[in-house]
């Protein structure tokens, strides 16, 4: 977790009274959720009730982002298996696998005798989750649509795994950092942003995507927010027409994708003319985990840089 080192600084500084009151309020909620005849009872993101007789010791994660959040919540040692591509933190790479998140090996999950299985609504097949429920395995389903849900999910994971203290701390840190970034950047001069998920085919995101909220937190405006699919496929002409102030892309891995420079042949785009082609590693912005703060911090700085180029123009 040393990548998040700069973010660890403001943890104890707090961002004022309101945040603390909010945190206490949530703490209260968690206690209320857990107070059920010695067992644990809580609701998942689809408002289904999940009941565990005691804190889970054996957890199976059905999404790479869930695995990551479990580690952040201090429950890493209780994850007995995870799906493919669970690659963060480093320890997650060596976890036993139960297939890809679209093709789960139900038998293997069953053989692991999990206390709870944590699924992902937009990734897992609903029939597979239903099957697990029928086999009397408690299933908790996540669906992260808002940045604010990430700390809540951390707290709930902490509750299920009996690691409330660390989960609480991590959640508070998340809220504080996000609050700090929003206070600093959200209301600055709007920057029109084109976020490029992929080049071939050319894919962007609309307002329903979590990335849209990251952009807005930094005072950016997603130029394709109004399209009606969550990851719409567009063409180069649409980008020319939208004429964004900044182009932000992620690509496949930790390297800046070569195709980002393909925009250089379109100097008519403001972002190209002002050299505002930015890169954010996909793990820092496309996954609904604590690391999204790294992506947010980076994007906020990049858009700030873009603002300076905009100031220089009439």
């Amino acid at each position: 977790m040393n990548t998040s080192a700069p973010l660890l600084q403001p943890r104890n500084l707090g961002s004022g009274y309101l945040v603390k009151i909010f945190v206490f309020f949530l703490l209260g909620c968690s206690i209320a959720m857990s107070a059920h005849a010695g067992g644990i009872e809580l609701q998942d993101d689809l408002n289904n009730k999940v009941v565990l007789p005691q804190p889970a010791q054996r957890i199976v994660s059905l999404a790479p982002s869930v695995t990551e959040l479990l580690f952040s919540a201090g429950a890493g040692s209780k994850v007995v298996a995870a799906v493919d591509y669970s690659d963060f933190p480093e320890e997650a790479k060596t976890l036993p696998r139960v297939g890809g998140y679209t093709q789960l090996d139900i038998e293997r999950i069953l053989a692991l005798r999990p206390d709870v299985v944590i699924g992902w609504k937009s990734g897992n097949h609903p029939a597979a989750l239903e099957q697990l429920r029928k086999l009397n395995i408690p299933v908790y389903i996540t669906e992260t649509r808002f940045l604010d849900q990430i700390p809540t999910t951390l707290e709930r994971f902490g509750l299920m795994a009996g690691t409330q203290a660390q989960a609480q701390q991590e959640a508070e840190h998340f809220r504080n950092t996000l609050h700090r970034l929003k206070t600093q950047y959200q209301h600055k001069t709007p920057v029109r942003v084109f976020y490029q998920v992929w080049n071939q085919p050319l894919i962007t995101i609309n307002r329903q995507n979590l990335i849209n909220q990251v952009i807005e937190a930094c005072g950016g405006q997603n130029v394709f927010a109004e399209l009606n699919t969550i990851a719409p496929r567009i063409d180069v002409e649409a980008v020319l027409k939208a004429n964004p102030d900044a182009i932000v892309a992620s690509g496949m891995g930790i390297e800046r994708p070569e195709w980002l420079d393909e925009w250089l042949k379109w100097p008519a785009i403001k972002a190209v003319k002002n050299h505002q082609l930015h890169f954010i590693p996909p793990g820092h912005i496309q996954r609904q985990t604590v690391r999204v703060l790294l992506g947010t911090e980076r994007l906020c700085q990049q858009l700030e840089q873009t603002r300076h180029t905009m100031d220089g123009q009439p």
């Binding site: 085919p201 894919i203 399209l227 990851a231 496929r233 063409d235 002409e237 020319l240």
Partner: protein, 349 residues
């Protein structure tokens, strides 16, 4: 119905010449209009004056400044893509037509012998490996040629060659490729999956200027013009054709190679655009008869127009969002085909 007994027509009658001129001229005009439409539609506004200015500028007739954005949009985006659509459409329709004669089967299309399957495995492999579009096209072409040799070799292996043997070998090989494709799709990563599906549905967004593909199309059209007369004789059956002096076996080999390489070239540029190669030859056969001297060039022109129109719709229908062109070819082609079939009273199909 003289055109149904084309083998006897040693030369064109005056009336046939006029008819050919009418059809080919009409289809060529339709292609030019489709090209204009394609160049003028899109998210960025481009007007005819921009195109005219650009032509004058490029040909050196005028040195007046052109609208820079419109000019780059035309020369970098719309023109390469449109020309590519014309070439791919022509190649697929021509390949389909040749395949139907070779296999003597109305259900034959350019993909029936597995060329697109082989190409798809190559392309998907490159997409999975995260390679650029140059490699995707390159490996698609290699895949298509592998299939060509594989099917050819297997159908000759026992020493007995016949179109039906070729058809069976090809169909089964195609099924094999299909299994590999399904496997690759099921293990692919999300980001890549989208690209893979678009490739499989046929998509011209990657298209660049057709270059050697265009040259190859022209060569193929010339060869097919030379083959037209023996093809007409083949329609009356192999035995009759032999009796009339057609070297049937070399002709079949030529047809196979020509159709396969045309298909390979098409899928290399645009992925497996479906439907076009099956239906365009039939529509033309129902409308103008089966004299290959007219049918082959007319099919190529009609395929070119249809694909270009479909692609223009694919990129503008729900703009700025894009559809794969393969979806649109079927949406246009199915009703047109059924309409032509209903009103036709010929016994050719």
């Amino acid at each position: 119905m003289t055109q149904d007994r084309p083998g006897k027509n040693v030369s064109y009658s005056q009336q046939q010449k006029l008819r050919a001129l009418f059809w080919l001229g009409g289809l060529a005009l339709a292609c030019i209009l489709s090209l204009m439409l394609s160049l003028l539609t899109g998210s960025i506004d481009v007007v005819i004056a921009d195109i005219w200015q650009l032509i004058q500028y490029q040909t050196g007739l005028s040195h007046s400044p052109v609208n820079a954005l419109s000019a780059t949009v035309i020369t970098e985006l719309r023109l390469p893509r449109s020309l590519s659509a014309l070439v791919v459409g022509a190649e697929l329709a021509l390949a389909g037509c040749l395949m139907q004669v070779l296999l003597r089967n109305p259900l034959a299309d350019p993909y029936v012998l597995g060329v697109s399957g082989g190409a798809a495995v190559g392309a998907l492999f490159s997409i999975m490996a995260g390679l650029g579009s140059f490699w995707v096209s390159g490996s698609a072409f290699v895949g298509a040629l592998t299939n060509l040799l594989l099917v050819f070799g297997l159908s000759h292996a026992s020493g007995v060659w016949s179109p039906s043997r070729l058809l069976l070998t090809g169909v089964v090989t195609a099924a094999g490729w299909g299994a590999v494709i399904s496997f690759m799709l099921s293990i692919g990563e999300d980001n890549q999956l989208r690209g893979m599906l678009f490739w499989l549905m046929g998509d011209l967004s990657r298209a660049t200027l057709p270059g050697w593909h265009g040259l190859f199309l022209l060569i193929s059209l010339t060869i097919s013009a030379l083959l037209a007369r023996p093809l007409n004789m083949m329609l009356r059956g192999e035995l009759q054709a032999k009796a009339l002096g057609v070297a049937v076996y070399p002709l079949q080999i030529t047809l196979y190679l020509l159709a396969s390489v045309l298909t390979a070239s098409a899928v290399t540029q645009a992925g497996s655009v479906g439907f076009l190669g099956l239906v365009v030859p039939h529509i033309l056969r129902l409308s103008i008869g089966s004299d290959h001297r007219l049918l082959l060039p007319a099919t190529a022109l009609a395929g070119a127009c249809l694909l270009l129109l479909a692609d223009t719709l694919a990129r503008t229908l729900i703009a700025p969002q894009q559809l794969p062109v393969g979806v649109i070819t079927a949406f246009i082609g199915v009703p047109v085909f059924l309409w032509v079939l209903q009103k036709s009273n010929r016994g050719t199909i």
